[in-house]
């Protein structure tokens, strides 16, 4: 098994990555601006819904039911997709999914080249030399393909992927990584995007307005849509009852990508299946309002199998596990798979709003990334992420499918601590020793009171003008950025004993 989540295996921990980003004022301004805009729009579109809480409950219920009967619904999806003319492939992990995609792309490219030899011939002549068949694919709306590192795998196999979602294209042009689940290039502003377009589209001039940039992108991408015969897409939902697949988007580039190519390959995480077409009633209300603050997405594409002389002649679905099945056993972990990737928790999160997505070292960032990334890869990587939260609860409040993210963060912290207790370094770490000492004191009130007195006496060496400075160890993290009052002359219990305790029972030990 080679379960992989982007580049999490090579990334530094959250505090280290966050340190760098906190110095980057431009990125922080971009992130703050973008999250503010989306957050406010979402609030507006949620407030107008009288049944929003009922919708959330329904979304949670549908997802819970589906996940409890996942094999049933996945097989139902497969049957109905195949019956409608699609082909379904099952991938256990990243490598399997990439291998399937590469095999399908190569086969389709060969078939298309045989059908249209003149295309290859023209290409060879323009280049002046013999050009080996180098297949190209247009891609859209597939964060899951970033999860499995598909682009790198394709390039390694001489296949050129072209991202066609505007933001994904910007990320690809900048050899960058997505920093937001819905708005992958959120960390870039208009001027930075313009620079990338000038360079990558080989333009000599380009205006600075948003309209200029979208016109340039449109011109550039139109050519790809017309020329490239193979598409790779993601899916927001896969409908078991009909075998249909759903992509929602704002630009229409997704619609192009799933209708223009002769061959379409759709990569779907197994948790994206929903039982019935009617279930979209709930999700198509929850998703757009949560994700972009729109009442409805401008483009909702639903396609089922293939149709003669209309759209792709060949349609493949790759159903991806990549660590998901492992999350099914525990109810708290399973709930994470409710996620419909709306990104509302990112925009609401005060931590994300300071750091943006790159600090998480995973394509899944923000609160949902902090629980999804470590779970997908079996708690091997992204272990600092469950701690990248103040547990303020803003994420849970906005989650359209009611994932209790704070509770899950605490659950994962528990798993990390439990695992650490089994290693020498973990068991005797400063934190572990401190926590065990504190627990011991809390269990023995007399010793706890003695410790309070000792701390008061011992603080002298750190005390300066009524405050404590340069505290050692973990407490140093506090005094590095904030002041801390010296301990008061008496604790509450000492005051109580002196002033009120007459006749009351004393402390036991």
């Amino acid at each position: 098994m080679s379960v992989r989540v982007g580049h999490t295996a090579e990334k530094a921990s959250f505090p280290i990555l966050a340190h760098d980003i906190l110095q980057d004022d431009q990125t922080r301004r971009n992130v703050r601006h973008a999250t503010d805009v989306i957050r406010n729009k979402r609030a507006l579109r949620v407030e107008e819904m009288p049944d929003w809480q009922d919708l959330r409950t329904a979304g949670h219920a549908i997802k819970t039911h589906t996940l409890l009967h996942l094999p049933h619904y996945l097989e139902m999806f497969e049957r109905n997709c195949v019956a409608a003319g699609g082909q379904v492939h099952w991938a256990r992990d990243a490598d399997e999914a990439n291998a399937i995609a590469i095999r399908l792309i190569n086969a389709a490219a060969k078939q298309q080249a045989n059908a249209h030899p003149e295309v290859i011939k023209v290409k060879s002549e323009t280049a002046g030399t013999h050009v080996p068949l180098r297949p190209e694919v247009i891609k859209v709306k597939t964060m899951t393909s970033d999860e499995i590192g598909m682009n790198a795998a394709l390039e390694k196999n001489n296949i050129t992927p072209w991202e066609t979602d505007l933001a994904d294209m910007i990320v690809q042009m900048g050899h960058d990584e997505p920093s937001h689940i819905v708005v992958p290039a959120l960390h870039k502003n208009r001027h930075q995007v313009r620079e990338l377009f000038l360079e990558n589209m080989k333009l000599t001039e380009l205006g600075t307005e948003a309209e200029d940039l979208t016109q340039a992108a449109r011109h550039y991408l139109r050519k790809k849509f017309l020329e490239v015969g193979i598409g790779v897409s993601g899916a927001n939902f896969a409908i078991a009852e009909t075998g249909g697949v759903v992509v929602v988007e704002s630009e229409g580039n997704g619609r192009m990508c799933v209708t223009m190519p002769k061959t379409l390959i759709t990569l779907v995480g197994i948790e994206k299946v929903i039982p019935k077409f009617d279930d979209l009633e709930v999700f198509l209300q929850l998703l757009p309002r949560s994700a972009t603050g729109e009442r409805m997405n401008p483009y909702n594409s639903i396609w089922t199998g293939t149709t003669a002389n209309d759209g792709p002649a060949e349609f493949h679905v790759i159903l991806l596990d990549n660590g998901r099945t492992r999350m099914m056993a525990n109810v708290r972990e399973r709930e994470t798979l409710n996620c419909i990737r709306c990104g509302a928790c990112l925009n609401a999160c005060p931590v994300y709003r300071e750091t943006g997505g790159h600090a998480y070292g995973s394509i899944y960032s923000g609160p949902i990334g902090a629980i999804l990334s470590p779970q997908l890869n079996g708690m091997k990587h992204s272990r600092s992420l469950p701690y990248a939260s103040s547990l303020c609860g803003a994420c849970y409040e906005v989650c359209p499918v009611k994932i209790n993210i704070p509770e899950t963060l605490i659950h994962l912290r528990g798993k990390i601590v439990a695992a650490d207790q089994n290693s020498i370094t973990g068991k005797f770490s400063q934190e572990s020793m401190g926590m065990k000492m504190a627990a011991h004191l809390f269990e023995h009130p007399r010793q706890y009171e003695a410790a309070q007195r000792m701390a008061r006496t011992g603080q002298g060496i750190f005390e300066k003008d009524g405050k404590l400075v340069n505290l050692p160890g973990m407490a140093g993290g506090w005094t590095q950025f904030r002041d801390l009052r010296a301990l008061p002359e008496q604790t509450f219990r000492e005051w109580w004993k002196k002033n009120r305790a007459n006749g009351q029972k004393g402390g036991d030990a």
Partner: protein
């Protein structure tokens, strides 16, 4: 009424004046306060950091310590949130039916400070006097876990002479987050800087809350910012209980909250 006080370990050690204010206020209102001496900690720090095994005995002994209490007041919203959100879950996860029963019997007797005054005692005017401009920071756990709503605001507005001024971005976390404040000290401080900006914008003299932990974070940030400068224009973080305990006869003063010699 006989009211048992769970002070919370950090209030006991770092903010005794809040506990004293709760005791004095409740006595002024004609109630008896009981402080079980063997009480220590609700287990929140251990539980939220992932030390679930270590938190368990703390939870059990706390429930034990308050077995005879009819009404329990806790001047720390996050501790109450720990009890309401996690105690039952801990019992469930441990498959401990006895503990489950204990928790179910314990929770209805627990009141966060502002809940006690408004819901249990039915008061919004406690006869307090505090002629100052005050803003309020709804700590995340009081806001999103306990849903205390406008209870603390109503209590502030019931104080004679008090000029309540709302805070922009009130629902934004101050960045404390327990061990988050030291594990991710830099991000925590960046969040704090935003919060302090909102606090300063109100031009209030005091910022009140139901959690001294969040106030310690805001206090620490404000003090670091104003280093070297005098106390003039400094905003004082203060627990709501201390404002409600302030009367014409014994008013709470800014000086008593100063860093130097701010002790009981």
């Amino acid at each position: 009424m006989r009211i048992h006080l769970f002070i919370a370990c950090y209030n006991d050690t770092l903010f005794p004046r809040t506990g004293m204010a709760v005791v004095n206020l409740l006595e002024r209102l004609g109630h008896d306060v009981v402080f079980p001496m063997a009480q220590t900690c609700c287990g929140q720090m251990h539980y939220n950091t992932g030390y679930h095994q270590e938190a368990m005995p703390l939870v059990k002994r706390l429930i034990d310590e308050f077995r005879d209490a009819e009404t329990i007041v806790v001047p720390s919203a996050s501790c109450v949130a720990m009890m309401r959100d996690h105690y039952e879950l801990m019992a469930h996860n441990a498959n401990d039916l006895r503990m489950m029963e204990d928790v179910k019997e314990f929770l209805p007797r627990v009141f966060e400070f502002s809940e006690l005054i408004t819901d249990k005692l039915g008061l919004t005017d406690v006869g307090a006097y505090f002629p100052h401009k005050v803003t309020y920071h709804p700590s995340c756990h009081s806001l999103r876990l306990l849903h205390v709503g406008d209870r603390p605001i109503r209590l502030l507005q019931g104080v004679e002479g008090l000029d309540y001024t709302p805070m922009e971005g009130a629902d934004q976390c101050c960045g404390f987050g327990g061990t988050f404040a030291v594990k991710n000290a830099e991000v925590s401080s960046a969040m704090l800087a935003d919060k302090i900006g909102c606090v300063r914008k109100t031009s209030a003299e005091f910022v009140a809350a139901l959690d001294n932990s969040c106030l310690m974070q805001i206090d620490g940030g404000l003090h670091r910012e104003s280093n070297g400068k005098g106390a003039e224009g400094r905003i004082r973080p203060v627990h709501l209980a201390e404002i409600l305990n302030s009367t014409r006869e014994k008013p709470l003063t800014a000086e008593s909250l100063a860093w130097e010699g701010a002790t009981a």
